[in-house]
């Protein structure tokens, strides 16, 4: 059955984890910050290797909790509670999703496991089950709404009531009237028309909640009260665009009624597919961001009171104002944000950084806290007034354990270079007592020279750098290739770091890349 565990309906709390709690500066579980959620003075973020939760972000010493977890998927925050899907385990007849939750008020962390039993699936192809992944989550009154790819929309009552599955486009009554999953419902879940990929809650109507659900072929409006599904038109203001698939949907709750935005992959006639941000208005999708030259796939959007829209693609951020009918107007371009972000750090090169998400939270004085998740760490600014373009300096935080000076503690991370890494690079961490020219050479097991990764480049003493280390993440790396550009064979490799001041250090790297 596609439902909660039949013998123990509802969510089963499986453990309460001991968390790393600290009253200190932000202590990210990883520099690869992938998603953001939050409101007011709370921040909730997912990194490549964990979830982090901060309260009192306006303070210089935020309360910070961290939980390492395997690549979190969905992330949501609302009503003082946070939730992240931290593990998915798809077996042949049972699929489980483990969620990490955090209660803002009681400061109680917990994990809960959502179990889907599929006794009738035992005879089906295995390919069906692994698609049960929760990609997105939203908070409604008293319940979480979870978008499961090939699993529909699931309502989990956070008070402990039963969880319920809904299929986009299928009235609840119809779903209930048959044993789940019937062949018809199962097939409908496997079609692009009904796969849920993103859910956004819209509470701008007061106590009632409206859910916007993105499936590859449709954006749906779902009313939980009467379990009705309406679909929006796929028309675009630009007739040269045709839909490939919808990816995400956002409801700007700072406006009444909430404005609706969507991220969709569209094909331009005779050209490549691009991911763009659109605003839904008068029965059509109005282009906002994403198809201009130099822009890449849209990674996220954030909204601030007054109709301000922050749109992020992997290469940067733009600010729009959406005050009247028609397309939003850009008031700050990527160069504006790039300059501010780069002013916040000496350690990160813009060329290697990718923006993953953006979040705007409203402070008590109606100014904006702007959070930008990147592949290299977290940027943030307080006191933003986007309408007046009043800006404050960005700050930057990343995870960088201190390295002892004098090459005494030198290492490469990650020590295993494999295909799970987004950038397929190993970075070197070292610290010099004084400025020097550095050379890093890579050798194979036979100590044949593989590559000169860094050739006689000047590095400052760590004490003179913001990160308190001399190594430069933008330049001190190796991508697992040899001098001729070929990916090296799987094996152990050895690096030698030398300086023109006589220092030297050795270490090891395992390479397990495909070739």
């Amino acid at each position: 059955m596609f439902s909660m565990n039949a013998s123990r309906p509802g969510l089963r709390p499986v453990a309460t984890l001991a968390l790393c709690a600290a009253a200190a500066a932000y202590g990210l579980t990883s520099n690869q910050v992938q998603a953001l959620a939050g409101a007011g003075d709370t921040l909730w973020l997912a990194t490549a290797t964990g979830v982090d939760f901060a309260i009192d972000t306006t303070d210089t010493t935020p309360q910070w909790w961290s939980q390492e977890a395997a690549e979190p998927w969905a992330l949501a925050f609302g009503e003082g509670r946070a939730l992240a899907c931290v593990a998915v385990d798809n077996q042949r007849t049972v699929s489980t999703s483990t969620f990490f939750t955090f209660d803002h008020r009681s400061r109680a962390p917990a994990t809960v496991t959502l179990a889907f039993q599929h006794p009738s699936y035992a005879s089906l192809a295995d390919t069906l089950i692994p698609q049960l992944v929760c990609y997105s989550a939203a908070r409604g009154p008293g319940a979480w709404w979870l978008a499961y790819y090939e699993g529909g929309l699931v309502r989990w009552d956070s008070a402990g009531g039963p969880a319920t599955a809904f299929v986009p486009g299928v009235p609840r009554a119809a779903a209930q009237s048959t044993a789940f999953p019937t062949a018809a419902v199962r097939d409908s879940l496997r079609t692009p028309r009904t796969r849920a990929v993103f859910v956004a809650a819209d509470r701008s109507g007061g106590d009632t909640v409206t859910l916007w659900v993105a499936t590859p072929a449709r954006i749906w409006r779902f009313s939980p009260a009467d379990t009705t599904w309406d679909t929006l038109a796929n028309a675009f203001d630009d007739p040269g665009l045709s839909l490939v698939e919808h990816i995400a949907v956002y409801a700007d709750q700072a406006t009444r009624p909430a404005r609706l935005y969507g991220v969709s992959a569209v094909r331009r006639s005779g050209r490549d597919t691009v991911n763009c941000l659109f605003k839904y208005e008068s029965g059509e999708w109005v282009y906002v961001f994403g198809k201009d030259a130099g822009q890449s796939a849209v990674r996220g959007a954030a909204f601030a009171p007054g109709g301000y829209v922050y749109a992020a693609d992997s290469t940067g951020l733009s600010l729009y104002v959406d005050t009247a009918a028609g397309p939003p107007v850009r008031i700050a371009d990527p160069a504006h944000f790039r300059a501010r972000m780069m002013a916040a750090t000496q350690d990160v090169a813009w060329e290697v950084m990718r923006v993953n998400d953006v979040l705007a939270t409203v402070e008590s004085d109606s100014t904006i806290q702007l959070w930008i998740a990147t592949s290299e760490g977290l940027f943030y600014a307080r006191g933003e007034r986007p309408g007046a373009l009043v800006t404050t300096p960005f700050k930057f935080t990343k995870r960088s354990p201190p390295v002892k000076a004098g090459l005494a503690q030198t290492y490469a991370y990650p020590g295993i270079l494999n295909e799970s890494l987004a950038d397929r690079r190993v970075y070197f961490a070292y610290n010099l007592s004084e400025a020097a020219r550095v050379t890093i050479r890579i050798y194979d097991w036979n100590m044949d020279l593989v590559k000169v990764a860094v050739n006689n480049e000047r590095r400052e003493a760590g004490k003179n750098r913001e990160s308190q280390r001399s190594s430069d993440r933008a330049r001190d790396w190796w991508d697992g290739t040899n001098q001729t550009g070929r990916t090296v064979a799987p094996g152990v490799y050895y690096y030698r770091i030398t300086t023109d001041k006589g220092g030297r250090a050795f270490g090891k790297i395992v390479v397990a890349l495909s070739r």
């Binding site: 494999n418 097991w445 036979n446 044949d448 070929r486 799987p490 395992v510 495909s514």
Partner: protein, 342 residues
Amino acid sequence: MSGAALAALLAAPVPAWVGGESGAYLRAPVGATAFAMGGAFAAAPQYLACWWNPAALAAYRERHAALGMGVRSLGRMEGFGGISFRIPTRFGLGVSMLYRGDPFLDDLYDENENPVDGGSYSTLTFKAGVGYLINRSWSAGIGFGVYYQSLPTAFTSDGVLNSTVTGIGGFTLALRYQALDRWCVALMARNLGLTMDWEITASEDGYYGSRSSDKPLPEFVLASRFEGRLLRHPLVWTSDLAGYVFDGDWERLPHAEAQWHNGVEWRRWESFYLRLGLGDVPLSGTLFSDASAYFDAFSLRVTGGFAWQLKRISDGLWVNYGIASDKSGMLFDQVLDISLAF
């Protein structure tokens, strides 16, 4: 080596490094004698002949056995052994085993710069060979191997997760010519037809994985052994020229390379020999086209060692020791073995 391949070798426009290509752990010399003589041992290997030159298996009347180990810089280790014997009147057989690896991968850090409990890299290679004595001057041989590797490929909550691979093949074709009583030469092609197809697990949950086809570089070797005299005592000069022109798929390497190994053994005393060598001297056209780049990348092994006969136990029992600089130029490798001719 064909004329075209030789031309490609000499025309290589940049420093011609084979570093990082498949089979790095197979390129280092096996045995303390070979090690002490700069890796030049293929023309007339007194022991471990099935590894070095299966054509030599038929050339010796005695049986040979050897056992040894090596401690290399940065925690690299090795152990090896082998036995060979003649089957009258024209055949010789030999088998050998080699372990190489790094059992001390104890300074790995994960993506978040946290230290991780160490793992180990292990390889095992079994080789067998047969030699045939064609006539008094010529002999031929063929060998093949079974190859195994185990490598940490993913971090887990407890440490690391290993992936393994096995391959069969790696044929050696050898031809040996005894030109004079004191001079012999050999021609060999090694590592032919060997594929190790890795199924790499890259994450604890198995979500990330990849395949990697590991095909050690075919190696072409021209070897010589000449016995002369120095200060009225025998002096053996060995020289191996190893060329790498193709990758494991027989596609031409972007930059071909040759390495020249040379060693001498001075038999100053009846029961104690001194050995010296220069190994892995890179040769490529870069020397002429861009000498500064050539010397920037230049590295070699300076080797030395000795052989000590344990005559009180057996006339054929020798202890061999070799020491060499590693190619980083800062550290040392050592190999010790015992060989027995009986």
